[in-house]
Amino acid sequence: MSLERLLEIHRSGLYATLPLHQIDSVYTLTKATLLTQLSDFERFTLLELQFYLTLTMGLDIEAKHCLDLICDRFDITKSERICVLKSVYVEATTGSTLREVSDGLVKDAKELVRLSNIAKSSMGGKLNIMQDLMAVTKRVVALHHEDVKEYTEKLALFLDLQPLDTESWYEMSEVYLANGNTDQAIHCLSEILLTEPFAYNVWSRIGEVQLMTGFKTSDSQRFEEAKRHFARSCELCETYHRGWLGLLESAKRLGDKKLVELSRTQLDKIVSGKLTSAENIDKISQILAN
């Protein structure tokens, strides 16, 4: 059971946003699980997870140990993923500027491309950093997050190359939102829905952005749009707490008493049946109490 849980944390990328007070327990569990009998796939997935957790916790020596174990198995001159991991390690543990980190990453990637082109020259077909090493390109983009203008340009350039990368569209929308460009943010989120039309968290997110804009401008059209998007997310997941909370809020603003009643009963049902995680239940109870 704990192995599946850890694999799920890795798969969903939860380690990047895990609540701080839970990092320690997940770390302990990963450490214990790594000592048990595991398949190669499970072992190296957990090692990658452990790498990120230890880096977050500031346990640099252990992080280096995880990285070394991964490097021993998969040659850094053959795997772009390890180039990325190495750059994360360098970013976290050294005081070098992000540009230096990015230069180091590109250097590793060039070496990888050079060696692989030597190996492949007899068969024809050559690698190119920009077109073939997408993970490296994405990481280079991510390392530009300090300067907003440059970051947006780089993200746009990357999304031209890779328009189906939902994670990057989401990042782009967050950047726009932080700078108050709500319409562009909504546009980016809608692009995700073209690729993943059932992504109910993204439907909810659009609703939230519309709701925020609605609070600012007091435009009832925005609340109507928010209601539509929240309703779709509730349709895709009947106990989705964010969807129902948003629906409750937008229904309140629109003065739709029937919908308010409906969302309240549904939220009560979620709380009493414990149909979502404990933290979400706390959140819902607080909002319902107000």
């Binding site: 990047a16 997050h145 990042e171 995700i192 997941c237 009947e238 989705y240 049946g273 979502t276």
Partner: protein
């Protein structure tokens, strides 16, 4: 449920073995005694095989159980009550995702968590600050 399907499996397998053995015997007999004439397999042996197959199939269908009711909250690790759905029903997206919501995750969580854009320096700083407030 488990006992019924076990009994059905048992009876079905016995019937299948019995009909197999009968047809083998019948073949031996027709080889030694009646090799010149056409001698078809008796109807009861055929029926026995068919009935045996049907019983095994029914047993297999009965043994299908709905999903487990308890799931683990991914972030905190506590066991939570999941959602039980009847087995052998068409899967409805709105219901199928209930289980994931109880686990505190979703198939699309990666889009929002954005592990590729993790700002590791900020995360480390946050963690150290949290640790400092925790120690006080």
């Amino acid at each position: 449920m488990a006992l019924t399907s076990f009994v059905l499996y048992g009876i079905g397998v016995i019937l299948l073995i019995n009909s197999g053995y009968s047809s083998y015997e019948h073949r031996q007999l027709s080889k030694t005694l009646l090799h010149s004439r056409h001698f078809p397999l008796p109807l009861d042996v055929k029926m026995e095989a068919v009935v045996g197959c049907v019983l095994v199939l029914i047993g297999a269908i009965i043994s299908i159980q709905p999903n487990q009711t308890h799931v683990v909250d991914v972030a905190s690790g506590s066991v939570v009550e999941g959602y039980t759905e009847e087995a052998l029903r068409p899967i409805d997206m709105g219901k199928a995702t209930i289980r994931q919501e109880a686990m505190g995750t979703s198939d699309y969580a990666q889009i929002e968590n954005r592990p590729g854009y993790i700002d590791i320096r900020a995360r480390r700083k946050e963690y150290q600050e949290w640790l400092a407030t925790e120690k006080k």
